[in-house]
């Protein structure tokens, strides 16, 4: 036993925990930076790490088209224009969905909230599919993300209003409302596909999701949206901590609850929409990752948000590499995340069912 008064000890324990989490953030960031070039070696054509490394160094140092002469230009194209944007997009989407999930869980004070379970992803998907029906002359570059975002926001607002009992948001009604709305929106999407006619090809390609069509253009659209959403959520992370108390207590502690809630919902839905509109509906990332992070590093949102972003990015980068190399043909990444995520979800449900009701 120490001679310190006990809460002196609590203070130093608090500081020690903080340092450990900061170290974890730095280590995970380093791991992600190493993984990205490493994952470009994996695929239908296997490229030695050495080659990838030289291409990347050349690209970074000399900027333009001056790849080392002894490397075939098609290899350079595979690394730079096919694999790299795809991996970076997977990282952005994985990190974004994990942060969105953590945020929904925080706002709703509900460990099972997730963009998919709340119907937000399905709303974004419906918006994205609907954008194929917008007349071509109206179709600016941003229509798909814009409609996906509108779909996401409307879905989350409807679920919120449906599930609200007085001023509380009980778990059961929230999940039921989310699942029901999600099914409804998915049906609407199916109907749109059925009557899509000439747009069918485009929609099917989009729906198959995953990252196989990724080009730098998509990275350039998704990056600012996800970065913007995550930044807002990081700024509100201490507020999210206080919001883990009920809304009444948060108000009494000086939090403007309505404003914080709306800001955070918009930010999380923006991220979800950006992720969905280029990659289709990828489930369970938003639920597995924040839970793992909480189990390992605790519930403080100031660390939970960056740690979830990094862990989510790493998870999806690795899952995408598996999706395109582990099987005889490439499989959609949503299948992989569901295979790993659904059992994990059931495990959480089973372990926590006593505290859920």
């Amino acid at each position: 036993m120490t001679k310190n008064p006990p809460n002196m000890h609590a203070y130093s324990a608090y500081e020690k925990k903080r340092k450990k989490r900061i170290t974890a953030i730095i280590l995970l960031f380093a791991l992600l930076l190493v993984l990205i070039p490493f994952m470009t070696t994996i695929g239908s054509v296997s490229i030695p790490f050495n080659t990838v490394w030289r291409i990347l160094i050349a690209k970074i140092l000399f900027l333009k088209e001056t790849a080392p002469i002894d490397i075939a230009s098609n290899i350079t194209t595979i690394v730079i224009d096919i694999r790299l944007p795809r991996i970076i997009l997977a990282g952005l989407v994985g990190g974004g969905l994990a942060v969105a999930g953590a945020t929904y869980q925080g706002i709703f004070r509900n460990p099972l909230a997730d963009p998919c379970l709340l119907g937000v992803s399905q709303g974004a998907a419906l918006g994205a599919v609907a954008s194929f029906f917008v007349p071509a002359f109206l179709l600016a570059g941003g229509t798909t993300p814009l409609l996906a975002f509108a779909g996401a926001i409307i879905a989350v607002a409807v679920v919120y209003l449906l599930a609200r009992v007085d001023s509380a948001l009980p778990v059961t009604t929230l999940i039921l409302a989310g699942v029901a709305l999600g099914a409804f929106l998915a049906a609407a999407t199916s109907y749109l596909i059925l009557v899509s006619g000439e747009h069918l090809h485009g929609i099917i390609l989009w729906l198959m999701g995953g990252f196989w069509m990724t080009e730098w253009d998509e990275v350039r659209t998704v990056f600012p949206l996800v970065a913007c959403g995550i930044t807002v959520i990081i700024l509100f992370s201490r507020t999210l901590n206080v919001m883990q108390l009920d809304e009444e207590q948060a108000t009494q502690l000086g939090i403007n609850v309505e404003r914080a809630k709306i800001t955070l919902l918009v930010a999380a839905s923006l991220i979800t929409a950006a992720a969905v509109c280029f990659c289709g509906v990828i489930g369970f990332v938003g639920i597995i990752i924040p839970h793992m992070v909480r189990l390992v590093w605790g519930p403080d949102y100031r660390f939970l948000v960056p740690l979830s972003a990094l862990t989510g990015a790493i998870f999806l980068v690795v899952a995408d590499a598996a999706a395109r190399s582990a099987f005889s043909q490439e499989i959609p990444i949503g299948i992989l995340t569901a295979f790993t995520g659904a059992p994990f979800f059931l495990y959480i449900l089973r372990r926590k069912r006593k505290t859920l009701c």
């Binding site: 609590a10 203070y11 700024l235 201490r238 009444e248 009494q252 502690l253 939090i255 505290t355």
Partner: protein
């Protein structure tokens, strides 16, 4: 000092309290008593801005709470709620540290001063040895003391307590109430406390307000409010009231 000026409070359109006016003075404990559903907790929620009055004004230190910013109001008024929902994974220390929220600017994290305040308050409230324990592992009484500690960490002018002794053993009841009384007289806190237990109200409050049917039925010193007649009218039951053998305060016996 807290002043309610002709205040009407309602839930979903139906009034709970109509046209209430009273003042709570600095350095004094004002007790709210009355049967279940008489609006005691509603008053606490209104003063702490969780609900806003449909009529009238609530003034704290001369300012209208309805016109304050959330943070500003939380530096003046703190609440220890009854049976609050708390995250189970955080430690007691982290819970009390949340009381520093209204003192932190956007993006600011807790600093040395906040840790010092929390340490001092946890010592004063006898919660120091709980500091590292997880909330999910603590008893109702321990949580009660911690929510009071959290409210004190806000360093408020006005402290609102909703049934602070509901879960406590008699020794902890005395401990908490003596603490509240010394804070009140030494630091000049204004305390408003909801109490079920009429004898505790009689012992510890300087003044009492008895609520019934959406209005103030009686107010004044405990000896004026806690009479057999008032209790019969408000609670609908006959009791005996005797002077306390030591300090002469009214004591209610069934």
């Amino acid at each position: 000092m807290v002043t309610l000026d002709d205040v009407t409070l309602s839930y979903n359109g139906s009034p709970v309290l109509s046209r209430i006016s009273f003042s709570a003075r600095q350095g004094r404990i004002l007790g709210l008593v009355g049967p279940n559903g008489s609006g005691k907790s509603t008053l606490i929620r209104a003063i702490s801005r969780v609900i806003s009055p449909v009529r009238g004004r609530i003034l704290v230190s001369g300012q209208d709470v309805g016109k304050m910013k959330s943070r500003e109001a939380a530096r003046l008024v703190a609440v220890a709620p009854q049976n609050p929902e708390l995250p189970k994974m955080i430690t007691a220390f982290e819970l009390v540290l949340m009381g520093r929220t209204p003192h932190l600017r956007f993006l600011q994290s807790e600093g040395k001063k906040d840790f010092a305040v929390v340490r001092e308050i946890m010592d004063a409230t006898g919660t120091a040895d709980l500091a590292e324990r997880r909330i999910g592992r603590l008893s109702g009484g321990e949580l009660q003391k911690l929510t009071i500690a959290r409210a004190l960490a806000q360093e408020p002018d006005v402290l609102l307590l909703d049934e602070p002794t509901a879960y406590l053993d008699i020794n902890h009841q005395k401990e908490i109430l003596n603490l509240v009384r010394s804070l009140c007289t030494d630091k000049g806190l204004t305390v408003i406390v909801c109490l079920h237990d009429l004898n505790i109200a009689s012992q510890y409050c300087h003044r009492l307000i008895m609520l019934a049917k959406g209005a103030i039925y009686a107010q004044g010193e405990p000896s004026e409010v806690l009479t057999e007649e008032n209790i019969k009218q408000v609670y609908g039951t006959r009791v005996h009231v005797f002077p306390h053998p030591v300090n002469q305060s009214p004591t209610v016996l069934i």
